[in-house]
Each structure stands twice: as structure tokens, then as C-alpha cells.
Subunit: 343 residues, 2 copies
DNA sequence: CTGAAAGCGCTTACAG
DNA sequence: CTGAAAGCGCTTACAG
């Protein structure tokens, strides 16, 4: 069992300062107009000397208010934080909460272990956020579980299901991103487009795919579009899938990474075979995170406002907690084409 | 103010099931041998129907046990999670805690705002962990603040200060990493070594520097070693610093990135100037995280067990909570040279 | 300006 | 096998 520790309590402060716990509590909570300057100073000194830190559990029990938000990242990889989309959202989210005095409970889970997640089993947060992955069915099941918590819900990078009234969806315009990148490569002459996608389903990747498909459909019959499923998003898996595809079908005009990592894997694959990019094969990515600056030729991609999504999502969520309801049901942030030399 | 919500409580369960709260509590906590099968089933059904989720605040108040651990990452960049060392440690740490039913409270802070951190001001965790950065003085101040919390402390990637008796240091052998990489480049003919370091101080980078210096000292007077401070770890800042250095001093034999990101920035810098790597200038990194696979030539680096550090750190910390004291004061994980084609 | 007291939702020692 | 009751550390409506 975890050892108990006797920490300083308000009543100890009160005793030492010769005041009631009411007054001690008022000092701790900055209701300073309720007492004389002398009392206040005496209590503050003692709090500092005794190193008083209020017990958050007691406070939240009394107030039915936890001052903490849970973030669930559903990713089958234990390295769920290797994905820069996840970490950028998390960074923005965490920073905003931190500045506003809210704690962030982070939990990475697999679909198979959703039911074990302590964030879902125990009542310890004011609201729950999720970065989902998985099939539509798996996500539906997840959202049902979230609904049972009866907490406000924030969903990153997926739509709000209709059975979740007290929820907000925050995402980037991935459909537009797909359109932009498809327009770009087609305009530059590509006629055979291959999109590389991970076997794990991410709603954002589907959106990108739909965006590409939309532009392809509008481009007439001489433009061809295929999707290749690559296993994990790792360099090795992606390159294996590319090799297998090319052995069978030959080189397409362009490999479009479902995200930057997969685009870069395609780029490296080409360079290792002494293929020239973009002369022999073009390559693109999605999201434009920092590490795309590592590769040459510069990757053509579409920049993601992931950090901003995290930050604005947190802001809207805290507003929801303060006001009792979400003012809006959806926030879609814009993306921007970032032309490189790879296509 | 945050709205209250009336959630299902144990006493509601007890009433509905026609048992006492004692029995309801026993069911909730799996003490099933204390009641008849019929009672148990009745209570369990009602808990499921009413969607009962125990109030963790109340439990922790009663038990003086929070089942949650705080992780503080001190990094002056708001994108503190862009650093793969941080995210890999975090992933391992978070996964281990999650599987063992502990919540993880994540908080990224700057040195200037340490005193505002809710993890330090409020009593809401069983233990506190930190990934520190900053000068020795800044870190000392941080550790003093941690000591005041009177909680067990886990320090990643830095030593335990002697005034923190109830603390554990978990790090990788960065000194050895520096030695390995220096031995390698010197053995391959490098005589003028330049280490690129960020202006923000990380204890691990200092260790790497000491390791290199140690090998350089032992190599006789014809080996020269310098350090170039690069601003942030970003590609742009690193490349600016490199350009400035080369304009003044000419090309060294090898640019040693203080981490992979800076090594890759040097690599890209060279390629952009049509310099051949390693023929014209050699380049190395540290840590060998996934994205080093993105670049060609393959980066010579030293692999980091960051995920393992997070995981083992979490394991030792939970053991500490269960047993009342740390069995050891330090855990140092090994690193391994990963030869590439860049040096 | 200050304080006594109730009660938030749990767990557990104790009594039956 | 089951339950009544105390108490964890807070906040706040209320009384003085």
C-alpha cells in the first residue's frame, strides 16, 4: 500500500495563526477583503513557514469541481507520442490549461483496452478530450463510452457524433488539404497519384483521401488515383509497401504520403534507389511539422495548425465549463499549401 | 464558475440495491468474499445501470493516496513536446502508469514560471517527476521547490542533489555516448571536432560534451575540440550558427550535433552548399530517434533508451510508493553507438 | 471582522 | 453476511 504522509492542513494553519479555519481558507483563496491586514499577514507567514499546499482532492470533493481535464489518445502504438500531430495538439492543449490553473491528465490507450482506462472508470476530471483513431465502428464505441461519463467532451480531428450533444469537434480542414495537394500535383502534370496510408485508421487521413478523390474526379478520366495501405507509419513499413507496389505496378507519377512521415519515407526510398525526385517520381506530404525541414529536396506539403488546435480547443473547453454549455459545436482550422521542391 | 453535476454516488447505489454503503463500497472495491453472491450481483447490476464511477477525490481524501503522479517538463520552448527525448520518456512513463492504474498529470513549464505551477502549489499527486533543463543554479532552485512538496521525486536525465534524500535519478549514460562518438570520429581521422549545443542548457548535453572532451584530452595535442552555441535547437538557428562559425574559422573535420536534430541541421546545411558528407565534412548526432531514418547519408549517432527510461523510472517510482522508500538512488541506462555513413 | 458547523463521497474499524 | 458511524480536508451559508 502507498504510505500515508501527514501534510499541513488548513486547521493546523488556523491553530498556529490563532484564527478559524474559515479565515485560513479565506486567506488561501485570496478573499483578503474579509479580514484585517494583520490577520492576513500572520496567516500568510505561517502558511509559508509550514509550506502549506491545499489538498486538491478535498477541495474538489466540496466543490464538485476538479480543475482537471483528461486527454485520451487512442493509438495502437505504444509510441503514441511519436506522432507529431498528437504531440503538437497536446503541447498547445497542455500549455493553455496550465496557464489557466487546470491540470491535464494524459492517457494513451489502445482500442482493446478502452474499458480499462482509469479516465473512464473513475470520476476525476471536469471534462474529457480525445484524439481518436480506428474504424468508424471503433470510434462509435469510444464515443458511447465517453457519453457515459456525462462530462463535456472535446474531440480532436474527428466529427461530433449526433448522440453527443455536449461535445465540441476541433479539427483542421483535412479535406481541403487533400484538395490543395491534389490540385497542385495535377496542375504540375501528375496523372497517376498514389496515396500512402497507414493500416491504422485515422479520420484525418480519410478526409485527405476524400479531398484528393474529389479533385481527381473533377479532373477527367486521364487522372488515376490509388491508395496503398502501408502497415505502420514507420519508415520501414512504408518503404516495404512502396517496393511491393512498384514491383507490381511500376512507378506512379507521385507518391503522396498520408502524412509527412510517410512522404519522407517515400522520398528516402526513391533516393536510396538513385531515383531523382521529382524528375523520376514526385513526393508530397501532409502537415509540415518541424522535421520536414530535415530532408532534401524540400517536401511539398500542407501545413497543420495542430498546436493552435490544441490551444483553441482548450480555450473553448474552459469556456464551456465556465458557462455551462458550448457556444459552438465545431471548430475547423485552415491549412495552407507549403510548396517544396519534391513534386 | 464551473457547473456542478449530480453524479451517481455510492449511497445512491446502496439505497437502490437495498444494502449499506459499506457493502456497496465492498463491491466497488472487489472485496467480493464479504457478501453473498446474490447481494453482489444485485449491486453490480445497479452500478452498471446507474453508470457508477467512483469519485476519486473522495477516495484519495479518505486514503491520503492520490493514485496520480505529476510530470514536470522544464523547457523554455512552448513546443516542449517537439523534443523527442521528452516525448519518448513521457510515452514510456505514461504507458507504465496507465497499465498500473495511476493517472499522469503533465505540466510543461518555463524556469520563470516554476512558482505558478499547480503541480507544485497544490497537493494532488503521490509523487513528482521532472525532466529538467537550465543552468546548475536554475536546476538547484527547481529541486528546492520540489523538496518543499515533501513527495518522492524522480529526476530524469540529471543527477540527484544530495539535499533530496527521497529521490531517484534515471538517466542514460550520456558521458559514455560522448566518448563513443568521439572515439569513432577520431579513429576515422577527424582532428578538428566542433560540437553544436543549444543555448538552453540541458544536463545531458553537458555530459556528452564532457565525454567528448575526455577522449579528446587522451588523444594528444593534434586533436582540437570546440563548442558552438546555436540558439534554439531549430534547423534555422543551428544553420545560422554553423554559417557564422565557418565564415570565421573554416570547415572543421566534423560537426557533432548535441542531439540528432542539430546533427541533421548540419547535414542539411552541408548538402545545401553542395558539400559532400562525409568527404568534405563529417556529421554526427546523439540519440537515434525515429526521424534519423529520414536523412541520407545515414546519420552516425548513439541510440537512446529514452522510452525504457520512462518505463523503468515509472516502475521504480511505483515500487517506492508501495514500499515507502527507494531501493536505489540512481539508474543509468546504457547507450549504443549506431554507425551511419555521415562520418 | 471572525468563527462554529454542516457536508461533499468515500473507506474502514467495529459491532452485531 | 451486513450496517451505522467516524473522519479525511476543504468551502460556505449563517450567526455573531
Amino acid at each position: 500500500m502507498v504510505a500515508k504522509r501527514a501534510r499541513t492542513t488548513l486547521s493546523q494553519i488556523a491553530t498556529a495563526a490563532n484564527v478559524s479555519v474559515t479565515t485560513a481558507s479565506n486567506v488561501a483563496n485570496g478573499r483578503l477583503e474579509l479580514m484585517s491586514a494583520a490577520t492576513r499577514e500572520r496567516v500568510e507567514t505561517i502558511m509559508r513557514d509550514l509550506n502549506y499546499r491545499p489538498n486538491e482532492g478535498a477541495r474538489s470533493l466540496r466543490l464538485s469541481q476538479r480543475r482537471s481535464i483528461g486527454l485520451i489518445i487512442v493509438d495502437d502504438s505504444p509510441r503514441f507520442l511519436a506522432d507529431p500531430m498528437n504531440t503538437n495538439i497536446l503541447a498547445g492543449f497542455s500549455n493553455y490549461l496550465s496557464v489557466n490553473g487546470f491540470a491535464l491528465l494524459l492517457c494513451g490507450i489502445h482500442h482493446a483496452t478502452i474499458d480499462d482506462a482509469h479516465l473512464l472508470r473513475r470520476d476525476q476530471t471536469d471534462a474529457l478530450c480525445v484524439i481518436p483513431s480506428g474504424s468508424a465502428t471503433e470510434r462509435r464505441r469510444l464515443y458511447r463510452r465517453l457519453k457515459e461519463t456525462e462530462q463535456p467532451i472535446l474531440i480532436f480531428q474527428d466529427d461530433r457524433p449526433s448522440f453527443l450533444p455536449d461535445a465540441l469537434s476541433v479539427r483542421q480542414n483535412d479535406r481541403l488539404a487533400g484538395e490543395r495537394i491534389a490540385e497542385r500535383v495535377i496542375q504540375r502534370g501528375a496523372r497517376h497519384l498514389v496515396l500512402l496510408v497507414p493500416s491504422q485508421h485515422w479520420p484525418a487521413v480519410t478526409e485527405r483521401q476524400l479531398g484528393i478523390d474529389h479533385v481527381v474526379q473533377a479532373s477527367g478520366p486521364d487522372v488515376r488515383f490509388e491508395t496503398v495501405v502501408c502497415g505502420s507509419e514507420s519508415v520501414a513499413d512504408t518503404q516495404t509497401a512502396i517496393s511491393r507496389y512498384v514491383d507490381r505496378e511500376g512507378l506512379p507519377d507521385v507518391f503522396m504520403g498520408g502524412n509527412d512521415q510517410m512522404g519522407i519515407a517515400a522520398l528516402t526510398w526513391a533516393l536510396d534507389r538513385h531515383l531523382s525526385v521529382p524528375a523520376d517520381v514526385r513526393v508530397t506530404g501532409f502537415n509540415g511539422f518541424e522535421f520536414t525541414q530535415y530532408v532534401r529536396p524540400r517536401l511539398t506539403t500542407v501545413t497543420s495548425p495542430a498546436y493552435e488546435m490544441g490551444k483553441q480547443g482548450a480555450a473553448l473547453l474552459l469556456k464551456r465549463l465556465a458557462r455551462g454549455q458550448f457556444d459552438e459545436r465545431q471548430l475547423v482550422l485552415d491549412v495552407e499549401l507549403q510548396p517544396g521542391d519534391s513534386d
